[in-house]
Amino acid sequence: MRNRLTKLLVALALTSTANAQNPIIRNQFTADPTARVFNGRVYLFPSHDIPAPEDYARKDWFCMADYHMFSSNDLVDWTDNGVIVSQEQVPWGNPKGYSMWAPDCIQHNGKYYFYFPDGAKPQEGRRGGGFGIGVAIADNLFGRGGGQLFKVQEKPVAGIGGIDPCVLQASNGKNYIFWGMGGLQGAELGEDMMSIVEGTTVRFNNLPGEGLKEGPFAFEYNGNYYLTYPSVFKNGETEQLDYAMSKNPLGPYEYKGTIMQKHQSGCWTNHHSIIQFKDQWYLFYHHNDYSPKFDKNRSACIDSLFFNADGTIREVKATKRGVGISDARKPVQIDRYSNIGGGASIEYHDTTDYFKGWYTKFPKTGSWVTYNKVDPKSSMAKNVCMKVRTKAAATMKLQLGKYVATLNIPSTNGIWKEINVATATAIPSGVSDLKLSVVKTTAPIEIDWLSLSENPRMVYFNRVQSTAAAAKPDANGFIRRWMLLEPIVKPNRSNTIYTNTYLRSHFYKKYFDNQLSIMPTDGQEVVAKPQDENGIDGEQKLKWHAVESTLFNTKLFRFSSWLEKTEYGVMFWGVTVIDCPQEIKNVRLSAGSNGASMWWLDGKEILLLEGDRRMVQDDGNSGLLTLKKGRNVLRFAVVNGPGMSDLCARFVDENGKPVTNFNITLK
């Protein structure tokens, strides 16, 4: 299931994750982040922690089956460029080894060399195959359509039994490889880039510290070579990032100190890389933010790094804020604060799914957070949109540099709500630090995020209580009240396939029980199941929601956004009841949809809108129908790839005039 989805995402030209704060990748685990700069763009090559699958016995250990590549122009917006090497592709590797530890990638003579550790194939008569360093070579980092570009070489680098490779391209024109296994080692890399020069292997045994040293990252700056590495300095403790300096690539190295202290959370490992990008140095490292109870599922983070005049490195403090400027038109996750006080704290949204992230809790008057470097981009912003949960109205203060605004926060009756709060004056554009504090409250205020924008955020749907009175169509006859099913994920990269034949076959596949007769209640669950290869993306548990659209059209895309469900590559089902006080003859259903749709009245197909459609009022209509006295069940299915799913529907008479003399119920 995951695999098919990944394929879809790659095909859709790669997903973009949100603003960079720590961790920087928020939909999967990313450990041992090796960052490199190629042609002005930052590329990230992390290990890929996954929960242990069934065929992997060590449920409490690290488990890594492939490598993704990520990239960014600004360290803020990261794109997942998909899987570049997986364990099944390694000719000498164990296809079920799950030992793809820290990798590295360099650009050399117009090609890209990706170095990665893997467990060797178990051999007859021997227990384990040991570890090797594989090489995969690519001419380009991107192919058309996200194709596989890295070609894994037949054999690992000869002469290395270890993991965590790092390649240093020294100014003397030579290349050096470093790795870990029983301490740190290094050697000169042969001209083929796939062997080491005999007799050059060095073990760095003189470095202080009692415990494990691993994951070396070596680089050159200002005439100095740096060997940096995670180190258990005192037995029984966890890893810190230490470093040593030398005038020669292979040492001898002199120990200089610590780059990053042990994680306070107890996360046992840390592993890192250091790059210069646009005149600033950065430390990439990892922490287990998205897996607080299991520190072998880790996530990459970035903080700025500075050198002293003598070439030594200043200690880096791990922050939640990370680096980069946050575009304040998009939600700013203030739970990734720069500083926090007055009793404010952060909490997970969902401790069964940590990837849902955090919110900030302001328990009382005087609680505050700061978040540095935000840019509202527009100088017209007079609106603060926030996702808030509180039980009492409150007053907060927003500061952006010298700009101050008072925010009157209404009560949300204890449920999460997106609210729009107007500011008295326009928020200036430009980069400044944000501070949000509570001026007055009688109840805790919880904030998921806030954004600064010109336009208030729309509310598209209201929930319909089961006790609600029947609705009428609106003045133009549009039906706005529906029972909508959460979208069925049905990956599809394009809308060009929606021919009549395709739609007729796909709308009539069975996705869930009684799909053409069910009259569900609000909150009722169904399980959508794939029937065949061309169906939906795995088994899906979905809920029905009784809703009323605030617009004449029913913006299914926003129904998805509202419920934080999949927005593209989906199929929607909806049903409503047209309750007529008396029979209405000679009417047509007149509808529009984005994308293709099929419509049924009392189980009988009445309309198909095929092709790559946009939502246009009266785009198509049915033949003449009779709405009988009493209940008439109107049902639709809409399927869409990359589009803003939407529909509008009304009944019109023979002259195209709207029919409004009926009630709409969901019973």
């Binding site: 030209a13 973009s16 917006d77 998009k330 954004s451 010109e454 955020r457």
Partner: protein, 491 residues
């Protein structure tokens, strides 16, 4: 016979000069061309992703324009002695997402070779946050001729089309101006004004799918620039309404990103791109079509195709013809008494057209034969063959044409007495080349490329009816039917 002719034509289409086909000549490759602007006698248009096209004459284009900032679907306008360029830039990530920005910048001259060519720093005038129902790219400018106020519409399928007001002096957003939603369901919009109506033109259909791209341009209109923009059915563009302005046809498909250029009173062209030109490997090319108006609605005219036409005056409905003796067709009138004394059972025969050979001998054996207007009778001296002369260059919408009597080398030519006559041999001289443009009412104006005795390229004089029967070269006047002609397929 008919069959072999169509095979011949098919062959010509395959092997002929593709540049005389549907698209502009040269290297007209572009997506989302900005409204054409003229600078120092050259035409400019900018496209998505940066760059753009330059043309000396409006027909032959080269990919030599420069526009920094990248991004999507720019528009451009001349204000005073400066040019304002507006474009949309998307935010971070490879995809850009839907957080867009609309930016404006000025330039004193659009020619990269000119010393004054230098863009000012682009300033942001609108944005979208990537989540709201708007994608702030694809801007289109209107400078309202009534009020002098400047408006920009922007947005894509991803939510609403929005309208903002800019200060035409600075290119900045007018202080306190609030963006208005004016349409859904389209992209690459543009606003135009004509005769008391504001028109919003949007691109509908599927973009960027080559020969399968259904992109087309639709419009709605409003008495107020702020809308509501309603289509011919009274349907609001905020509900997806729109009346067709131009779609596929003539070996091109996927019309997108409308721009209107008024060349003269009653002479308008629409600039757009075709997603695919079937004659040029399905590449995306610049298209320029005459823009016509009917009952207050704009629509694109057809490209003028080579062929044999009757040229009929709008003034009287007479046909342009050689001043030669009328040769009667020797066909006995059937029956007398106004056709009543005809045997209804007598066999019916088809009478062939009078041929050139039947009349040529009575035509004067002179180099120059004058032209006049007279009753259209489907005769050889009224049959004008219009042939493109692409090597002679062109103007917006067409190459120059030669106009000859069908089956001969005798061509229409302007002379130094501001008259029109014919000459026996075609030499390719400028006074034998004709600019033919369809006017907003569907008629045509026909003007010589040059007039002997008047220096330079002629941009004023057209073939003009001075009486029902006589023509001369006079200044074009859209308000006089003397300036106008209809082209009717000759038969």
């Amino acid at each position: 016979m008919k069959k072999s002719l169509s095979i011949l034509l098919f062959g010509a289409a395959l092997f002929g000069n593709v540049n005389t086909a549907s698209a502009q000549a040269g290297y007209p490759f572009i997506h989302d061309p900005s409204t054409l602007v003229e600078c120092d006698g050259k035409w400019f248009t900018f496209g998505t992703g940066g760059g753009g096209l330059i043309s000396e004459d409006g027909w032959h284009w080269d990919m030599k324009a420069e526009r920094p900032g990248g991004g999507a679907a720019p528009d451009a306008i001349k204000i005073g002695d400066r040019y304002l360029v507006v474009y949309g830039a998307t935010g971070g990530g490879l995809n850009g997402g839907h957080s867009g920005r609309i930016l404006t910048m000025w330039n004193k001259n659009l020619d990269p070779k000119h010393p004054d060519f230098k863009y000012t720093t682009a300033i942001e005038v609108a944005s979208s946050d990537g989540m709201e129902d708007c994608d702030a790219i694809d801007p289109g400018i209107l400078l309202d001729p009534n009020t002098g106020r400047m408006w920009v519409s922007y947005g894509t399928y991803w939510g609403n089309i929005r309208l903002i007001e800019l200060d035409p002096k600075t290119g900045e957003r007018v202080k306190g101006n609030k963006a208005l939603d004016i349409a859904i369901d389209c992209e690459a919009t543009d606003l135009i004004y004509k005769d008391g109506w504001y028109y919003l033109l949007g691109t509908h259909g599927t973009c960027c799918d080559g020969v399968n791209s259904t992109y087309n341009i639709v419009c709605g209109r409003s008495k107020q620039v702020t809308g509501p923009y309603l289509d011919n059915m009274g349907r609001d563009m905020k509900a997806g309404g729109g009346r067709m302005v131009v779609a596929a046809g003539d070996r091109v498909n996927g019309a997108g990103h409308f721009g209107r250029t008024v060349l003269d009173e009653g002479v308008e062209v629409a600039s757009l791109h075709w997603e695919a030109d079937l004659d040029q490997s399905g590449r995306s090319v610049l298209g320029i079509r005459p823009l016509l108006w009917k009952n207050g609605w704009p629509y694109c005219g057809e490209r003028l195709k080579e062929g044999t036409y009757a040229i009929i005056s709008e003034r009287r409905g007479y046909s342009l013809e050689l001043t030669v003796d009328f040769v009667r067709m020797n066909v006995q009138r059937v029956g007398g008494g106004f056709g009543r004394n005809v045997d209804p059972n007598a066999p019916v025969v088809k009478i062939p057209y009078q041929t050139l050979d039947e009349v040529k001998s009575v035509w004067p054996k002179e180099d120059i034969i004058d032209v006049r207007c007279s009753d259209y009778m489907m005769r050889p001296h009224q049959a004008w063959t219009i042939t493109a002369v692409p090597e002679a260059g062109g103007y917006l919408s067409n190459p120059y044409f030669k106009i000859s009597i069908n089956g001969t080398d005798r061509v229409l030519a302007a002379n130094d007495k501001k008259e029109v006559s014919t000459t026996e041999k075609y030499t390719g001289a400028d006074n034998q080349l004709w600019r033919i443009e369809q006017l907003t009412d569907g008629t045509y104006r026909i003007m010589p490329k040059a007039i002997p005795g008047i220096p330079g390229i002629n941009k004023e004089y057209v073939i003009y009816t001075t009486s029902d029967s006589n023509v001369a070269l006079c200044k074009y006047d859209f308000n006089s039917d003397n300036s106008k002609w209809n082209l009717k397929k000759f038969e």
